[in-house]
């Protein structure tokens, strides 16, 4: 019998810094690793330290590597960053429900990414851009603490330059040399190009950003059914057994991390729930 709690040993292919305190870790997929859906996550395990739930941030079509973009936050993520090429770690996954890209076909796509929240959105972008003709307008709004913290910026700028998507950026604070916007991501929403009746919204970022973005989008006439949020909670077992990641009746690890707003709205909007 498959033990859902037993990791598999995987080899590290590369460790590369993205921005300060954020790095991308590529792993060689185990032979029986199934295809992952954009928005799903893996459990990465450093023996002696523990496990961390990390979204897959690479292209779902790339079978040669499993890419994770990780913010160094605690013990496990610090040890992951210190790993070398050809080292081994433990892996379980993929887990959870991904982004419902098929549901967005034929309409506009609006993506909102705050900070490291951009990482789980990137596989959805790869997928959408690979079938660009299936979507009308694609808008990507991103927020970061500072210009130096903007994740994947050259890649995103390239997509914007070639006209594949509309990109808007804002930062919390910046030096005088920054020519872009300073502010919060919700300020960008009214300026983005989308039809509120024909849009599907995918968002990931700090919970406070998600709460305010939901309100702003509703105010513009976007229906709750068109909004999907990727949430973060304390995922330990990743299969709905350990109980830590619950949000009301939902196990974020198994029923999410991507949820249609309707399944979580009252709980998301309640502080400390």
């Amino acid at each position: 019998m498959m033990d859902p709690l037993l990791p598999r040993r995987v080899e590290i292919l590369s460790v590369a810094e993205e921005v300060q305190n954020v790095f991308t870790l590529d792993l060689r997929p185990p032979p029986d690793y199934g295809p992952f859906e954009a928005g799903q996550f893996n459990m990465l395990y450093v023996p002696g330290a523990g496990q961390a739930a990390i979204s897959v941030s690479g292209d779902p079509r790339d079978k040669t590597r499993l890419r994770h973009t990780i913010r160094r936050e605690g013990n496990v993520t610090s040890l992951l960053q210190a790993k070398q090429v050809a080292d081994h770690i433990g892996l379980r996954g993929p887990f959870g429900q991904g982004w419902p890209l098929a549901a967005a076909e034929g309409g506009d796509l609006l993506l909102l990414g705050g900070g490291i929240g951009l990482a789980p959105l990137r596989p959805a972008l790869y997928q959408a851009l690979a079938h660009r003709e299936r979507f009308h307008r694609i808008s990507l709004l991103i927020g970061a603490r500072s210009p130096e913290q903007l994740l994947y910026y050259p890649e995103l700028q390239h997509w914007a330059d070639e006209g594949s998507l509309e990109l808007q950026v804002c930062v919390d604070s910046a030096s005088a040399t920054w020519r872009g916007r300073v502010g919060v991501i919700t300020d960008l929403i009214p300026e983005a190009e989308f039809d509120p009746q024909q849009v599907t919204v995918l968002m990931c970022g700090p919970e406070i950003m998600q709460r305010f973005s939901v309100r702003k989008l509703r105010g513009l006439g976007v229906k709750g059914e068109a909004m999907y949020l990727s949430l973060e909670r304390h995922m330990q077992c990743a299969v709905g057994l350990c109980g830590h990641c619950q949000l009301g009746p939902q196990f974020v690890c198994r029923d999410g991390p991507v949820f249609p707003l309707g399944k979580i709205e009252p709980y998301l909007m309640t502080g400390e729930f």
């Binding site: 040993r9 057994l241 350990c242 109980g243």
Partner: protein, 359 residues
Amino acid sequence: MYLWSTQQLQALIDLLRARDYDVIGPAVRDDSLHYERIDSLPVGWGDRQDAGHYQLRERADQSRFGYNLGAATWKQFLFPPRETLFRVRDGDFVNCREAPQKMAFLGVRPCELAAIALQDRVFTEDPVEPGYLARRKDLLLIAVNCSQAAPTCFCASTGDGPEVNAELPTDLVLTECEPADPYYLVEALTQRGQDLLEEVGGSQAPASARQTVDRLMDATREQLTRALDTEELPGLLLGALDHPHWDDLAQRCLACGNCTQVCPTCFCSTAEDHTDPITVEVRHNRRWDSCFTQGHSYLTGSVVHRSVRSRYRQWLTHKLASWVAQFGRSGCTGCGRCITWCPVAIDLTVETEALRAAP
């Protein structure tokens, strides 16, 4: 239905032990009632319980099941408080789940059977937890109908007692009669139970046996003083997340987690690594956790459930509301342990009523 003497009850234990079963049952130790490996049943023990109060007492009779529930649950044998899930040896992940010893639980109350059925849903449906399944697969269950209720019991409200119903997973059901010089009415609910019944022997119960059981169960129902109104409860609790009564609760709750540790259905666990300093072998261990701890809702350097208010709200809304969506029914079987073992006597039946009232 069969009629057994106390000797035949003992013969059942002996028979199971001869067949390599660990017979797990009630035992008196440290002024309390525990479940552990036994070779005979304790005689003449009862208890006094109320909110925040438990006291073992000696009865003046020969009863084998004259107490209600202690702090211990059967959960500890199927979902152990500590368990090594795997080891990491020379970089390899080694599954170290051991082949379990066959177990027979003797003296399982109806509310406890319902709790086992609930944990079966948690651990054997989606996903299958291989350790739990291995221990559960050959488990023999011998239940006891409750011939008395404690003041903390409210099993009738949750539909789980005081009598074993045929939907509960059990092989045999005993009813203790005439505690001064007890005999037992015994029914088999499975073929395995029927085989045991015939091997132990005993006489056919008289035609009036069914009425005897009914009369005893009616008397127990009469003793049930507590009740939990479950009508529309999930929607009501999840719709009352901002009710001021949560603040009132937070004034009293110590966030000690006793309620979660004695609850027969709570399933939260956490995992931690232990590295042997000599061999550098890592053991990945799982242990019971509680939603009252700070670490339970840890989230990237912070905590979601910072206040005691939010932790109690998580426990109560999960147990009585979210369970229904997650596992098809409430996570409470009316055993009352969380009431007895709460050091400040918080009673979820009372608190739930307060949350029903308009703020």
